[in-house]
C-alpha cells in the first residue's frame, strides 16, 4: 500500500513536470505543504483542466467534474491525497 501511494505521488510529480515545464529538481523538492494553485503562475485554470485528464490517463482513474474543487489544487499534498484516494480505492 505504501508502495502504491509512492507510485501515485511519483506520477503526480511527473505530470506536473510535463505540464508546467518545471525542472525535475524543483518538483522533486515539493512537499505536502507546497502551494500549487495561485502560487505557480503556470498552473492556471486551463492547465488544471489538462492536468485532470492527464492524471486520469496516467493513473487509470475517472474524475467527475463534481468532485473537483479548488482545494484539491491548493497544495501538492492535497493533490496527491486526492489522486491516491481515487487510484487506490
Amino acid at each position: 500500500m505504501a508502495d502504491d501511494f509512492a507510485m501515485v505521488e511519483k506520477t503526480v510529480r511527473a505530470t506536473l513536470v510535463d505540464l508546467l515545464g518545471l525542472s525535475r529538481e524543483r518538483v522533486a523538492a515539493f512537499d505536502d505543504t507546497t502551494p500549487l494553485f495561485g502560487s505557480l503562475p503556470e498552473l492556471d485554470s486551463m492547465a488544471v483542466a489538462t492536468l485532470l485528464t492527464e492524471l486520469e490517463d496516467r493513473l487509470g482513474i475517472s474524475i467527475d467534474d463534481d468532485e473537483v474543487d479548488v482545494e484539491i489544487f491548493e497544495t501538492f499534498g492535497a493533490l496527491v491525497q486526492f489522486s491516491a484516494r481515487k487510484a487506490l480505492n
Binding site: D18, V48, A49, T50, E54
Partner: protein
Amino acid sequence: MANEQCLRFTGHGEKPAILLVPPLFDEANRMRRTLVMTMCTLSERGHASLLPDLPGQNDSMAPNEEASLDIWRAALADIAAREGQPLLIASWRGGALIDDAASGGIGWWRMAPLAGSTIVKTLIRVRIAGEKEAGRAASTEQIRALAQHGPVELGGNRLSPTMVDALDCAVPAMVAPLRTVDVADIGGSALWLRAEPGEDRAMAQAMAHNISEWATICAAG
C-alpha cells in the same frame, strides 16, 4: 490538400521519406517547433520529410468548423498518393486517429497516441474553466448539448457536431508495421501538455533517431 501548406525538408540517398501527422488542435501549436526540429535532424540523416497543415488547422485558410476527421483523412490519403515514394508515417497524439488514411505506408510510428474521447474531455474541461473564470457557470452536459446543435468553441477551435461525434468514437486504427513510443522511451517531456509552449532540441533529435531507425527497419521489410 491542394490549397494547404506543407512544410517540406529534403533528404538524400535512398532513405524513406517521413510524413509527419501532428497532434490535433492546441497540442499541435505546442509541438510545432519541436516537430520542425525533428524534421531538421531527419534531413541531416538523409530522410526527406513533410509536415502538412490539416484543413482548418495551423495556417490553413479553411474555416475550422468545416474540418472533420474524414476531411483530414482524405487529405492525408491524397498527400500519400501524390508523393509517389515510400513513406513512413509518424504521428503524435491525436494524429494517430487519422494516420492510417495514409495507406501504402512502409510503416507507422506513433508517439503517445490517445483516444478521441480523451481529447474531447480535455477540451470541454478547458472550456468550463474558461467560463468559470469569466464568472459563468458551465457543465459538461451544457457544453455537450451545445455541441449537438452547432459548432462549439473548444480550445480555440470551432468544432462541428460531426467533429465532436467522430472524435468521441475515434481510436487509433490497427496499422502494421507499427512502433509506438512514449516519453519514457524517448526522453524529454510531454511538450504537448505545456501550459506555456516550450521546445526541446534533445528530444527532437531523439525522436528523429527513433523514427529513422524504425524507417530503416521497415524499408528492409
